[in-house]
Symmetry: C2
Subunit: 244 residues, 2 copies
């Protein structure tokens, strides 16, 4: 099965959750828009599929996956599709439902993080919504960040009362990979606020470290395939939005 | 199979997407929190399940569904679970993937609509974020509303070049029901702005009318089970946020 991922070539963004699933399992995939344009890559290749009137279920936005006859959009939908195929979720229905549920809660969390730097409109520059961003950041860091992290910490606590905890079941799932990404991104975006809360989420921190030490993920993180965080992605570091 | 829906008893909110799936199919369900407390209902019943340490995958927020041994949260996850069981999505994988994809885009759309009246924080009152809400409303009505509605209109246009169009395949799916709900809610929240754009989305408007005329949905809408829109839900009518 050939997997083609279509996502913006210069950011981790929401595409990174899918990249991590491929990388953790050593699955061959093409990150299409990162290929040179003369090899059929670039943003042009991405726009071409999005705008094709023959695409079965045309995506509203990247990321999307093309495999066989299918074009699949929405990050959580892509992961729910790939999970069983890549061995990143259990075979039973309860595990699959739980994994998708958690991934959707992570998607909500990610959207709230995005809106900290874009509270008024995603099409406007951050510079055009700075006072509002500052107010939203205060609310996010004091209310939402502890709520989401506390929720996922309790999830790990309840799941497997043993070493090497996972979000779903007893082995690595796409939810674990996504939680790794969330914690890593939060530490980049809000080093002060995240540094303060990190001691209160020991199980999440341990899961993040376990994922980072996974041989394939460690190799990926050290490679050029892993794009650095930057000021165009989901997680952005604006010191004025971090709490002092 | 016994279906118990847990959602806030006084609003349509995100729970309404699930209620519509049950109602359209004549499926027996219990809207637990709307039962009197002495019959095991009320918000207390909802909180009890959410806070139970034995719940397999404890919900982050309502709505959630309890059926058999399962507790399933996240609206789109619930609908992806119910879809095949209630005959509200095709049997093939492509249809199921497309339906979940579209439902997730609807969820993104719904979150953006919520954040029009809550751009700074969901835990704050609207009254505490009115100037920001006004700015966000302008951006939403000029940029995001036409983008989302145009996207779904094109989806219907491409799908079945015939009478009685549907979002997925050739029969009623949970996505059609959700699109009905979105259009109905938008007309309540933004009568001026929606009234202006409605003529540009004839296929969506026709689909909305078809769903409203569906005998079981028509009976539901006329019943006391259908809660009225109000100022506590996802869709709220603040005239100052509608465009003049």
């Amino acid at each position: 099965m050939r997997y083609e991922l279509f996502y913006w070539p210069s950011i981790q963004g929401r595409g990174e959750f899918v990249r991590l699933a491929f990388e953790a399992t050593g699955t061959d995939y093409v990150d299409v828009a990162r290929l040179p344009q003369e090899q059929g890559g670039g943003v042009a290749a991405l726009m071409k599929v999005m705008q094709s009137p023959t695409t079965h279920a045309s995506p509203f936005a990247p990321p999307f996956l093309r495999t066989g006859e299918l074009v699949i959009a929405q990050t959580a939908n892509i992961l729910a599709f790939l999970g069983p195929r890549l061995g990143l979720v259990g075979d039973d229905e309860a595990s699959r439902l739980a994994a998708l549920q958690h991934q959707l809660t992570i998607a909500d969390f990610a959207s709230e993080i995005h809106d900290v730097h874009h509270p008024i409109g995603s099409g406007l520059y951050y510079e055009d919504q700075k006072p509002e961003a500052r107010r939203r950041a205060e609310n996010f860091l004091s209310e939402r960040l502890p709520k989401y992290l506390g929720y996922f910490e309790r999830l790990l606590e309840r799941n497997t009362p043993s070493e090497g905890r996972h979000a779903v079941g007893t082995s690595l799932s796409y939810v674990d990979l996504s939680l790794f990404q969330m914690l890593t991104g939060l530490a980049y975006a809000f080093p002060v606020a995240f540094g303060r809360i990190e001691a209160e989420i020991p199980l999440l921190a341990a899961l993040r470290d376990d994922v980072a030490a996974h041989p394939r993920i460690a190799a990926y993180l050290a490679s050029e395939r892993r794009l650095p965080f930057n000021q165009q992605g989901l997680f952005r570091h604006y010191p004025e939005l971090d709490s002092g």
